[in-house]
């Protein structure tokens, strides 16, 4: 009895100090993450202009009603979804395949990892600036495609055609982040016990069978992590599209939600409406994350 009382006292003591240590992180999260979300939710209920000194007018859900009736907002949703699906699915598949190929190599593994990862350390602005030169009508993109397709002098309108400009944005993003996810997959593959492959080989399994029966099922948690991370990053994409538009590309095809939020809040000064848009984006991101967790069932993996 005495022993139980002592141990519960110790537990309380430890819990108390645990809470103290967690508190700074919790405070930091609350101030820099949770408060802005709540503040955006609150602001979205007002007609508020950034520079106005007048008290904002409470309009309830009017900003949401306006957005749901706005063709510009629906176009932004479309642009975001097209970009996300067109980028994160190839990102997931190609980074997984590249990770498997690199993991199987005996030589040059480190070099390939660095080579693929290097674009990820560039800022998005620098990456977009490099690709702006490539997609210039007289740039490398037209030259490569014309060389491969044997169509000299054809302008593929990378920035002027509505479809091409979306593909161009996806290409830049894919190039920038594929190496980042390759590294995560390589770390995941390294965690799979080699004994499993050895046992499979003894039983006569081919490389293809090893990939489908061992690598992929055991990588499920990593696949879930990468797919959620890449999807969330794609939903939040901004700088590539912003720089493309600044360089003369048409805005409508690549007017993703984040760019619409920026233009509404910073250019048009309508911070209430921009906040409503960011809350909708937050809900969309939350929903897709939940959906992916549900569909992946990541906790089912056991060695």
């Amino acid at each position: 009895m005495m022993k139980t009382m002592r141990s519960s006292g110790l537990l309380r003591y430890q819990n108390r100090w645990g809470a103290v240590f967690v508190l700074p992180a919790l405070l930091f999260f609350s101030v820099f993450n949770f408060f802005p979300i709540l503040n955006a939710l609150y602001t979205s209920l007002f007609q508020k202009k950034v520079l106005s000194l007048d008290p904002p007018e409470f309009i309830g859900l009017e900003n949401y009603r306006y957005l749901l009736a706005s063709s510009s907002f629906w176009n932004s949703l479309r642009a975001t979804m097209v970009f996300t699906l067109g980028t994160f699915i190839p990102l997931l598949i190609v980074s997984l395949l590249l990770a498997v190929l690199i993991s199987q190599r005996r030589f040059g593994r480190k070099f390939l990892q660095i080579a693929y990862y290097s674009p990820a350390v560039l800022s998005s602005v620098v990456a977009a600036a490099i690709w702006l030169l490539i997609f210039d009508p007289r740039g490398l993109a037209n030259q490569w495609v014309n060389y491969i397709m044997r169509t000299p002098g054809v302008d593929h309108n990378w920035f002027s055609n509505a479809v091409m400009v979306q593909i161009a944005a996806m290409l830049v993003y894919f190039w920038k982040y594929v190496g980042y996810f390759v590294i995560i997959f390589i770390a995941g593959i390294a965690g799979i016990p080699t004994a499993m492959y050895e046992a499979a080989r003894i039983d006569g399994a081919t490389s293809w069978q090893c990939f489908w029966r061992i690598t992929l099922p055991l990588l499920k948690p990593t696949v879930a992590l990468v797919s959620i991370m890449s999807m969330l990053q794609c939903l939040k994409t901004f700088s590539t599209q912003y720089l493309f538009v600044q360089s003369g590309a048409p805005q409508a095809p690549i007017n993703v939600i984040t760019m619409n939020i920026y233009n509404t809040g910073i250019r048009d000064h309508r911070i209430g409406r921009a906040s409503a848009m960011s809350i909708i984006l937050f809900i969309i991101m939350l929903f897709f994350t939940w959906l992916q967790f549900k569909s992946m069932k990541t906790d089912e993996v056991t060695y």
Binding site: L51, D155, S160, Q246, G248, Q251
Partner: protein, 431 residues
């Protein structure tokens, strides 16, 4: 646990109290003015000297000059003001600055502090109309750092290379502009390797709305209630742009590198560019040989053959403004300092190639001796200030979409006009 929480609350409270105390203005003693402006190395050089001189004359005033890129500074100033932490002095383009006046975020000019006997005397020192964009209810809320208009720069070498005589064949009308560009353009298949002329695509209000006005159209009606006035004029303008683009005569496109930056290098890739007097300083620094060669010239903004109005490109201005939330003492010091800087109009013109539209400068030999200053002056008289309402940036974006939809996406001019009119009208109605 409660004690820890109590301690944290106390620390937070103390920080807030101390933070609030830190903002309190001293009524006496030294004053520090925070001055935000866009990057311009030539201007930085002379303004840093003005700061040193001003501080020597006014030892109780310190100026902190902070520069940022011209695109970045728009959002930096905006977010700083949104948080009530705006700089004491700043400048932006009038299209971006007007909202600060409309929302009462800036202080009116103190004529006495600025060295004028009265507001009337101050107004009399400037060209007529140039202070109108910053004048509300008889008060003036800014003093012009620069007023810029654009004319057409011509590279004579490229004209001669195409067998043209630049002095005789330069385009006087927009129809000639397209025809001359057709003679100057070089292509590799569809890809243009040399352009005759190309527009300044992001700047539709400055460079393109005047084309519509020449044809009898308007951006906003005189009573401010109707948007995109004059269907025929707008459709004729959109037809012209459609014909200019890659699906028409393929003379240029927003996706090519802007002609103004290529012009200085004299690389036989562009013959004409639409830009301001400041370009001369840039040609001089980028390519002094070309600057001194006499192989470039400046000609007026063209007009349509069937123009009903003689309108040149709109001019735009950067105005120095003072934060209305700064203390009265700081505001006074700020206007004194701004006035000191602006008293060097001739040096700004010589070193930075920007025009401060005072009568004294316009009548000075320095201005008159600047190459082609007469062309710029005459075009300025034909033009008007750019549209600068609170929604100007959004309206510019909508015009961009309309022009690009006809040039690049094959949308008919009639449809693009209808969409533009509906969207701009919705903006006006929302105000």
């Amino acid at each position: 646990m409660r004690k820890v929480l109590l301690l944290l609350v106390l620390i937070l409270g103390m920080t807030m109290i101390l933070g609030a105390g830190g903002n309190k203005e001293a009524e006496e003693g030294p004053v520090t003015l925070v001055f935000w402006t866009h990057e311009d190395p030539n201007r930085t050089e002379i303004e840093n000297r003005y700061i040193e001189e001003f501080q020597a004359e006014n030892p109780d005033i310190t100026i902190q000059r902070v520069t940022n890129s011209s695109s970045k500074i728009i959002e930096l100033v905006l977010t700083a003001f949104a948080a009530n932490q705006g700089p004491d002095i700043f400048n932006l383009s009038i299209e971006d600055e007007y909202a600060y006046i409309a929302n009462r975020r800036v202080a009116p000019v103190d004529p006495k502090a600025a060295g004028y006997g009265s507001l009337k005397e101050l107004e009399a020192a400037y060209l007529p109309g140039v202070l109108d964009p910053v004048k509300v209810d008889g008060k003036i809320y800014g003093l012009p750092l620069e007023l810029t208009n654009w004319c057409i720069y011509v590279n004579k070498n490229v004209f001669r290379d195409a067998g043209l005589d630049p002095e005789r064949d330069y385009p006087k009308t927009w129809e000639e502009m397209a025809d001359v560009s057709e003679k100057l353009v070089l292509r590799d298949g569809d890809i243009i390797t040399r352009r005759g002329f190309d527009f300044r695509y992001p700047y539709y209000l400055v460079g393109m709305v005047p084309m519509v006005e020449q044809l009898g159209g308007k951006l906003i009606s005189d009573d401010g209630k109707t948007a995109i006035v004059g269907e025929d004029a707008w459709i004729a303008f959109l037809d012209y742009m459609k014909d200019w683009g890659p699906n028409g005569r393929n003379l240029g496109s927003p996706t090519y590198k802007n002609a103004r930056s290529l012009f200085n290098h004299n690389n036989n890739d562009v013959a004409m560019a639409h830009t301001g007097l400041y370009q001369q300083g840039r040609i001089k620094s980028d390519n002094p040989d070309f600057y001194n060669s006499g192989n470039w010239m400046v000609v007026p903004y063209p007009r349509f053959e069937n123009a009903v109005e003689d309108v040149a490109a709109a001019y735009y201005g950067h105005y120095y403004m003072v934060n209305g939330q700064s203390s009265a003492r700081k505001q006074q010091a700020a206007w004194k300092f701004i006035s000191y800087m602006l008293s060097h109009g001739e040096e700004y013109l010589q070193k930075v190639n920007i025009i401060q539209p005072t009568k004294a400068l316009m009548e000075s030999d320095t201005f008159k001796n600047m190459p082609y200053s007469d062309v710029f002056m005459q075009d300025m008289e034909r033009g008007h200030i750019v549209y600068y309402g609170e929604n100007s940036a959004k309206i510019q974006e909508l015009i961009k979409q309309a022009v690009e939809s006809v040039m690049l996406s094959g949308v008919s001019s009639e449809k693009a006009y209808a969409t533009l009119k509906a969207e701009v009208q919705e903006l006006l109605d929302e105000e």
